[in-house]
Amino acid sequence: MTTTAASMDTEFQFPEIYNFPPFFTRQPNDSTWKEQRRMWCDLILSYYKYNNLSSMTLAEAVSDPLFNNKQIHRSLRVDTLREVVEELVKQGNACWTGPKNTRDACLIFWRKPEAWASIIHQWASENGMFNMVFTFFELANGDDTVEQEFHGLDPLTLRRALDVLQGQGKAQLFVGTSDEDIGVKFFHSS
């Protein structure tokens, strides 16, 4: 883990391995690759957490500083990145977005939807929000949640988190008369 608790205006501190050229090339040895992949996973999650990012378009991402170290003139190949993201998806820390089976874009969960779910439920509990109706927009962008960690959360991650709560019987998603916009009602528990 990198020190993400540093003040907001300081740049993300890359780990030492980031300046190690072979880190950007997929290692042929299987166990080495596994270790390399694990380090990339950690790096992506902490980078996304530090910058509060969520979505990634693989073809564009490879030119981001995260995957493109200009100082050592190395960058990660898209297919290698795809393999790394595949691993993240397997861990539940990412999900593919966009058209089916294209695997060109994804959503990174630096905090898993399950964890977001309990944070949101905790908030609902502490603020007497049970049995109240909320719009998704209100939760992520409303005035009541400005202080909350989940303020500004991207809609898809929010949806995943609320799906988890619904599965636990702690929330119910539903649509109004328009059938377009989804709302949610929180409950104490099932």
Binding site: V133, F134, F137, E138, G169, F174, S178, D181, G183
Partner: protein
């Protein structure tokens, strides 16, 4: 089944509130959009003025004015909508409170009906009757007894009492059985040595023969 169950938790009111909140969100987003346009017009007016195009700058400022009006109108509508939502939510809470009060009242009424005054009175009456009946029974039993039976019963009672007092006396610590002056003269140490073993034998003898114990018991009285 679980999904069906939780679906039931969503009422028509919930849907109505959601609809209103969605409208509110849309209004808010619209407001943001207008604000962006407003800021652009403002920047444009400054730029035009800088270039010396007064006429178009004025036009831009007029448009900005119009946008400002739009924003304040939406602000009003937002407030109305928000108030309506809050009123509805509060009414829902009030309804729940009323329901709670109703339930509590029902329970209280039911409990009160379960312990009516007549029942309580009857119960007290029945208890009194039972006591009276018991007294009557013992009176009748006494009256039915012959004088001999009564005498025998009394004798038996006496016997029992005697046995009881004997048993009690056995358990009591023994009072000094020797003459008081003797004890005082001889001193404490001396009597302690003598009475110790003596007392033991006395205890054994006492339980063996009644006559002997009677005599021993009388001894201190004589002295």
């Amino acid at each position: 089944m679980g999904a069906g169950n939780s679906k039931a938790k969503i009422t028509a009111q919930d849907k109505a509130i959601l609809d209103m909140k969605i409208q509110r969100d849309k209004l808010r987003q619209f407001q943001k959009r207008v604000q962006v346009v407003l800021d652009r017009e403002d920047a444009l007016a400054r730029e035009l003025l800088h270039k010396g195009d007064k006429k178009r700058a004025l036009l831009a400022l007029r448009r900005r004015k119009y946008q400002e009006q739009t924003i304040s109108k939406t602000e009003e509508q937002l407030l109305n909508l928000q108030q309506l939502v809050e009123t509805i939510e509060f009414s829902l809470v009030q309804r729940d409170v009323l329901f709670g009060l109703e339930q509590g009242n029902k329970v209280l009424t039911q409990l009160n009906s379960e312990m009516r005054i007549e029942d309580v009175e009857r119960l007290a009456e029945e208890t009194a009757e039972g006591i009276a009946y018991q007294n009557e029974v013992s009176n009748i039993l006494q009256a039915n007894m012959s004088p001999e039976d009564e005498e025998a019963a009394l004798a038996e009672l006496e016997q029992l009492e005697k046995e009881e007092s004997d048993r009690l006396r056995l358990n009591l610590p023994h009072a000094p059985r020797h003459s008081m002056p003797e004890q005082v003269v001889e001193g404490l140490g001396d009597t302690g040595d003598k009475t110790g073993p003596q007392r033991h034998t006395e205890l054994q003898e006492e339980s063996e023969t009644d006559e002997q114990s009677q005599r021993l018991r009388n001894e201190p009285m004589l002295a």
